[in-house]
Amino acid sequence: MKLKSSYIVVAVLSVIAIAFPAFLGAYPLNVARSIMTYMALAISWDMLLRSGQISFGIAGLFGLGSYASALAVLRGGMDPMLSIVFAAAFAGVMAYALGFAILRLRSMYFSITTLALMEIFRIVMHNLHDFSGGPEGVVLPSVIFKGASPALYWLCLAGLFLTIGVSWFFEKSKMHLALTAIRNDETSARSSGVNIFNYLLIAFVITSVLQGMMGAIQVQSYGFTTPDTAFDANFTLLPLAMALLGGIHSTIGPMAGAVLLGVASEWLKLKIPYGHLVVYGIIIILVILFMPQGLFGLARKARRERSKAGASHE
């Protein structure tokens, strides 16, 4: 019964999300696209975090997807839609190759290496003048769907839905057991037959595919990119802040965090230009200090306290 009602909620929200272009203009749809992009990145970051691995390389994979898609269209004459699939696959292959080296690292060593990789990708694109356009970046001959706002919105929404779907699968399948076991205690995980490296590699490749895909959708929707926009550190920092605020180790947490921070930042941008970044910083500090499990973590804790109190009254 409880399960059914939650399905209904999901269905209703999906329909509302799909129907947005019917009653919103170009500007709100543009804002929605930006929030959805960050939301997808926040969810994908969290998916890998469930194994205990903190990646600072979201912007790296995102930018890689942007460039792969843009250059496939520009240099290879690929169809823009197909180039999104290509870019996602390319990000996946890169993650697979890199994973063999970096997934042997743990904790801050892993984090710093992913951060460095992002920087390497950016510098490479910056300096490959003839191929990638160097610091000026690439300009596509046209924007996908001729720049029609509703179509761009739906494309981005499709990317987000796919991300949510995969994340939900991670929560409901044996991926959940494997990743949580690896996060909690690698020794126990090994003794229970979990092939730790394999599961880390699967999670790293899948989240990289999603991040590359969102980068490709972004570049096709704007029609241009530069090393500094594609590999903007904000694509790492904002998703991180959103996931932390909403609550890590879940799908719903990063989603809620993205809506809250996304809407707040749009509003703050109008009130105090660039001041929204200060507010972000403050939010991250406060969340880490006072509710490290985020909003949904607080709710979970409260529910647990209540059930414990109930149990002791039996």
Binding site: K174, T180, N184, T187, S188, A189, S191, S192, G193
Partner: protein, 239 residues
Amino acid sequence: MSKLVTTGLTKAFSGLVAVNDVSFTMEEGEILGIIGPNGAGKTTFIHLVSGILMPSSGRVEFKGKDITYMPAHERSRLGIARTYQLIHPLENLKVIENVMIGAVFSRGKSLKEARRSAEAICAELGLERLERDTAQLSILEIKKMEIARALANEPEVLFLDEVMAGLNSDETLQLIATVKRIALERKMAVGVVEHVMGVIRELTQRVIVLEAGELIAEGPYETVSKNPRVIEAYLGGAA
């Protein structure tokens, strides 16, 4: 054929030889005691056999197959399971999920099947209310959960590393009876590390004694406990 055979198994940590040239066998249905003073290398020995550590030299065979350098997760699929001296609960998983995990990854069961077999194992051990968080468990319940998790691998060889430590005598007696019954039912070979000699006497048919990494005695508890070398190892060489 013996379930488990080690030949000249040795592990050195840069100079310190923790396990030195240990050769032993374990047979089907046997409960073997592994005893020795603190630092004798008992836990390191189990680490080597279960693949948590790789040996410096020597050989480990499981049912005639060389598994000396096989990774731990593959050994657990093959049928070697263990518990840990220091408890290792997976605190973000529920009790039932803690137990299921071996059935899912070592035995390749679906989540549904794994849940069913985990419930059966917990029932056998008397572990209840399986939807709880591990933080809500008593020490006895955590120990039972760790045994249940090892059993969910459906092992042929099981090592229990000081599972009775921290339990009172009633709880210990209860757990001894359970382990004995399950080992018998499943025809497992069980290796038990314990400091409580009463447990070793009750539980095991045969004992090996380690001291400073070396195997110094082997045989039934009654004989081994009268062996002068063993007494010296435990009480010191003053006499």
